[in-house]
Symmetry: C2
Subunit: 256 residues, 2 copies
């Protein structure tokens, strides 16, 4: 196993750069915590580096990870140096450095999909990915203006689903919508059908939008189906993650 | 209108104490931002104090609030002093000081209810309240160990629903469950019925639990109905807010 003993180690300097550019395109990303690292390994992949707090490697969770890693990717660090690479207050003694899977957008999009139109909050975006994966969706298209899908907070709230999905960022949703072979469904409050009174298609591009402004009017105009979720008057609207959960699982209910 | 000009103003000192004890029982709380303040006023209530950034009161949103306030509760402050009372980076120039409504737990609980069993994350708790309100629920019971319902983050993600609900904190859910007249429903992964194959009761106490550990075994043992949400194998579980949205709106779908 490699070891890093000081800040001046060239690999450490490189790691620190990657940590600072978290979520930027084509840069390696740092996975925090045992659960995310396990999820990554469970897909049969190996990280570029697996960084461990050298004082904790006998802890069962960490030892379990090490068993499933090639020796050449493992690297031991003093606790303080590892903590400097971390975004959480109490780290679990491990960070993986991985390359985000680069997915190429197929010319024919004919699967059930999640489309994110300027969804801002990283926690919401991660929860949306997790909910979509739970509903059986494996492809996500995100517009420019959506929180970076590979940022630490999105990874954290995604709980490891990233590595089993095809994720496309900085997509011109309007351009893609014009060539779409499955129906485009938007959630909106005006001139919309009641979710529970519609026969939903088996496959669709489900668009969920900005937390305050909702889905862009240009996408609403192109939609094959406008959906609203009937709710009590006590609220103006549902949180975007709640709305997506209700829609995607109603579709699942109708077609299982 | 009152004015506060320095940190040494006695009212300012008091406000600062309340800000620091945010969410503690029986203390006034500070509402941040135009939307929450509007939601509070919309219920016909008046705050104890309405604090405004003295340089911004002609902005339309703030002027709109002032129109609906008694003059004696309004108070103008320099921007810096107001910012010191705020939990957000870019304030909207207004804070309301209000007393949380103290709800007394009725002896007979026969409405549809949300029960929170050690739900930790304030963002999740706020979203759960908002989703429950959207589903028509007005009563929430929270165990000790659940994030404080009146903390700034819960208020923010609740988006103003707090003021129209009966919220009960630090409740011994197990004790209340033993005297319950409506069915207790828990979401759990083992020995549970498929949500979409069950006839749900019109009224129930819906229990959602700790993000990692789920609902306490003692509550599961008392439940009239155990529910699981059938999902794709790509995830271990759903986020608690997604699970609640799916369950509460499936009940709404069945009974509207």
């Amino acid at each position: 196993m490699k070891t890093i003993e000081s800040r001046s180690n060239p690999l450490y300097k490189q790691l620190f750069k990657w940590q600072s550019s978290a979520g930027r395109r084509d840069e390696p990303i740092l996975l925090e915590g045992v659960h995310l690292c396990e999820a990554f390994l469970a897909l049969g992949r190996q990280p570029q580096y697996a960084l461990f707090d050298q004082t904790r490697i006998t802890e069962p969770h960490l030892a379990g990870l090490i068993e499933n890693l090639s020796e050449e990717v493992c690297c031991l660090l003093p606790a303080g140096l590892l903590a400097n690479l971390s975004n959480v207050d109490t780290g679990q003694g491990v960070l993986f450095v991985v390359r985000p899977a680069v997915a190429t957008l197929p010319t024919h999009l004919n699967a059930n999909m999640l489309w994110l139109d300027r969804v801002q909050d990283p926690g919401n975006v991660g929860t949306l990915l997790r909910t979509a994966a739970a509903a059986g969706i494996t492809r996500v298209l995100a517009s420019t203006g959506t929180a970076s899908l590979w940022s630490p907070k999105v990874l954290r709230s995604g709980q490891g689903v990233h590595f089993g999905m095809h994720l496309h960022e900085h997509i011109d949703l309007l351009a893609v919508a014009r060539t779409l072979v499955v129906p485009l469904i938007v959630t909106t409050l005006s001139e919309a059908n009641d979710l529970f009174e519609v026969e939903l298609p088996v496959q669709a591009a489900w668009v969920f939008g900005h937390e305050g402004q909702g889905v862009s009017q240009s996408l609403i105009d192109l939609a094959a189906l406008r959906i609203r979720i009937d709710h009590a008057q006590a609220v103006d609207s549902l949180n975007v993650t709640a709305a997506a959960a209700i829609c995607l699982f109603e579709q699942r209910r109708q077609h299982r």
